[in-house]
């Protein structure tokens, strides 16, 4: 691609020079976000049994509410959790930044499932302020496993 553009430029040297005259300097603006409004977490549902059914949003919602209620009561269940994506047994959620530590603690320490059924629990695969980093970390786990 780069070679192509070079040759086209070379064909029209006059156009390139004209283009140079009108190119202005770029303004650099810097912004620091100290307190992002939301934090994100990457969760996986683990279970005693061998086969877990694939998750859907409703199951995720009910498990998360149960975990928060068990740990923090009504205030915990009042924490606004947005479910961003559900894939297989994993899911991504978004919570307000100030609630991240409470949510991660609640999810990590929860064991659910009825008496005669298999127990389930949440494994927190990652959490942080930036979603892009979380998503990028997915690949990191696979590097050392094989």
């Amino acid at each position: 691609m780069v070679l192509d553009s070079d040759t086209t430029m070379a064909d029209q040297p006059g156009a390139k020079r004209k283009h140079d005259k009108h190119v202005k300097g770029h303004e650099i603006a810097a912004k620091t976000i100290k307190t992002p409004p939301f934090s994100y977490a990457h969760l996986q549902l683990i279970s005693d049994s061998d086969n877990i059914k694939d998750l859907d949003s409703l199951i995720v919602r009910s498990h998360i509410t149960a975990a928060l209620t068990q740990f923090l009561g009504v205030t915990g269940s009042a924490i606004s959790v947005d479910i961003l994506k559900v894939e297989g047994t994993e899911c991504w959620i978004r919570v307000p930044r100030e609630d991240l530590s409470s949510v991660v603690a609640a999810l990590g320490g929860w064991v659910g499932g009825k008496e005669n059924e298999d127990k389930v629990g949440w494994k927190v695969k990652g959490s942080g302020n930036w979603l892009s980093i979380l998503v990028g970390e997915r690949g990191r786990e696979g590097i050392w496993k094989e």
Binding site: P37, V74, T75, A78, I79, S80, P96
Partner: protein, 325 residues
């Protein structure tokens, strides 16, 4: 001085019930209460159904104001807010959609309280920007603490939604610009100020901000609404009281006397228009001294101004002019 700006009032309410609520709130320490009439639709003729004088006795130090909360969903409709503002002492808005909420925060003008129904789940997140813009404009956000004890109905969702919304509002505003009121339909919903502060402290409202939201902020709302109704753009305030009847202007004095007797014995007396009755000029023989100048000439010191709200100080220049310290 503590304020409770939301004591729900209903035409079908039993007056005895309301009296009990008012006297209990007064015992807990709230001096100024506002009876709140919630309106969803407007009648063609806007009238204030809350009686000026309550049909029962209220504790002596209690001041009752009349407030209305208008539920709006569509800001483009004409809600005749100025007419509403003329009929009630305080006007609050209850937006139910994001569009209405943004309009109430940024553009609409006749209200000074935004009272969201915190037991509902809102389809939008509470961002700091519209909240702080509204607060800088002078609009305050109301939190009714009795809704947190609403265990009835809706499967306990009311409490959960209330807590989530309160936490979000406190975070978006950092605790500033809030007004806390009871919203109590019966005595069971009323709590003492210390209890209210503790409760809201659990959900993130710092103690100092909580104290402000019980005293300073509602006082600001009450005074601003009063100023809006009795003065021209907050600059010219109509003074009354302390006027002696001048013997020269017999006719004008008679009129003034009548006006003073006609003053309703309302605790705050905000409802009067307070415009001076136009004086009829006398024969033309006597020089046209203004009444004020005439009184001053008589050596009458009662021409000092009485502010309607005693906490407000008179301006420095005025004090210099009248030599009061």
């Amino acid at each position: 001085m503590l304020y409770d700006l939301n004591v729900p009032w209903d035409p079908s309410q039993s007056p005895l019930h309301l009296q009990r609520t008012i006297s209990f709130l007064s015992e807990l320490g709230y001096d100024t209460l506002a009876l709140n009439h919630t309106l969803a639709t407007l009648t063609p003729q806007i009238m204030n159904p809350i009686p000026l004088v309550p049909p029962f006795t209220i504790p002596k130090k209690t001041v009752l104001l009349r407030r209305c909360t208008l539920i709006i969903a569509d800001p483009t409709q004409n809600h005749r807010l100025p007419a509403l503002a003329a009929a009630y002492d305080i006007v609050a808005l209850r937006p139910t959609t994001e569009k209405a909420f943004l309009a109430a925060c940024l553009s609409l003008d006749s209200h000074s309280l935004i009272s969201l129904d915190l037991t509902q789940r809102f389809p939008f997140h509470f961002k700091p920007k519209p909240f702080m813009t509204a607060i800088n404009r002078g609009i305050r956000f109301e939190i009714c603490y009795s809704q947190s004890m609403d265990v009835s109905g809706d499967g306990g969702n009311a409490r959960r939604n209330f807590i989530g919304n309160v936490v979000a509002i406190v975070r978006a505003t950092r605790g500033r610009g809030l007004v806390v009121s009871s919203g109590a339909i019966s005595v069971l919903g009323c709590r003492a100020p210390a209890d209210v502060l503790n409760l809201l402290g659990v959900w993130g409202l710092q103690r100092e901000r909580g104290v402000e939201s019980l005293g300073v902020n509602p006082r600001g709302v009450v005074i601003n609404e009063g100023l809006r109704r009795t003065s021209f753009r907050g600059v010219v305030d109509v003074i009354e009281g302390g006027e002696k009847i001048v013997k020269e202007n017999g006719k004008g004095g008679g009129e003034k006397e009548k006006r003073m007797q006609g003053t309703p014995q309302n605790g705050v007396g905000k409802k009067q228009k307070g415009k001076r009755i136009a004086e009829e000029t006398n024969g033309g023989a006597t020089p046209q001294l203004s009444k004020r100048a005439a009184k001053k000439a008589n050596g009458d010191l009662t021409t000092t101004t009485h502010r309607r709200y005693p906490q407000q100080a008179t301006s420095y220049t005025r004090r210099m002019k009248e030599k009061i310290w």
